[in-house]
Amino acid sequence: MNFKRFITTLIIYFIFWLAYTTSLAANEIIMGIILSTLLSVFTYKSFSQKNPENNIVVRIINLIKYIPVFIIEMVKANLDVARRVINPSLPINPGIIKISTDLKSDYAKLFLANSITLTPGTLTLDVKDNNLFIHWIDIESTDKDIQKNLISGKFEDLLGGIF
């Protein structure tokens, strides 16, 4: 039993429990601790990260850094959609491209794919090994490096730091 992973899982479940109950009564907290311990005994192996590169403090700092970047990109994406939809000539030039990623862990790839789906003009079609297949609404460049920079450049370092 990997104690570190177990404790991390337990704490995450407990935070979720606190948010579900939105109460700090002693009964609720005791119940939450008991239940999250039980649940993490059974699921910590599949839920937690195997060998994270950074320690927990760095990961949390990266997570805090990641959230505003993500929200700004999401708002930009919506403004982008609005711009394209309202424009009478419908300026789109779609295509499906492949970019590679340096991220190793599964969760990091998942969050990268989700972030790409929610950022301007891109939609992740599939992830295979180290490649992401992306439907791009307006192909700005055919050069791989520029594509990678434009699509996943903002997230890769932060996500690599979190997971």
Binding site: Y20, M74, A77, V81, I92, L125, D126, T142
Partner: protein, 116 residues
């Protein structure tokens, strides 16, 4: 307190505006993939901002709305990815103007046997 309430209502209105834009996008875009693009982004931010707005108007519910927001952010892109991928695999070709389609050679293996 009145500031929070006002902020909450502004966020709800903004959210509905984004949802409206998303609906417009779904009508105007030419093919399924572009429609999903417009739909996902608009519904995610629209639902997110509406639900957090509700949480700001009624602060007792804030953490619960935060949980709903986390679930939306996690599940919405997964769902749209799933729809896009399965329609590609079942043979719906995207309308491509520049003919760039690097996903094509990959679609031979592991066809998931869906309906029929």
């Amino acid at each position: 307190m009145i500031l929070l309430t006002t902020l909450g209502y502004i966020m709800i209105i903004l959210g509905s505006l984004f949802l409206l834009l998303g609906a417009l996008g779904i009508v105007r875009m030419p093919d399924l993939y572009n429609r999903i693009q417009a739909g996902t982004k608009a519904t995610t931010l629209g639902a997110l901002s509406s639900i957090i707005g509700v949480g700001l108007v009624n602060p007792n519910w804030f953490f619960k709305t935060l949980i709903i927001a986390i679930f939306i952010v996690l599940t919405n892109p997964i769902g749209s990815h799933s729809i896009a991928r399965s329609s590609y695999k079942s043979g719906l070709k995207p309308e491509l103007q520049s003919e760039i389609d690097e996903y094509k050679p990959e679609n031979i293996q592991d066809e998931r046997s869906d309906l029929r």
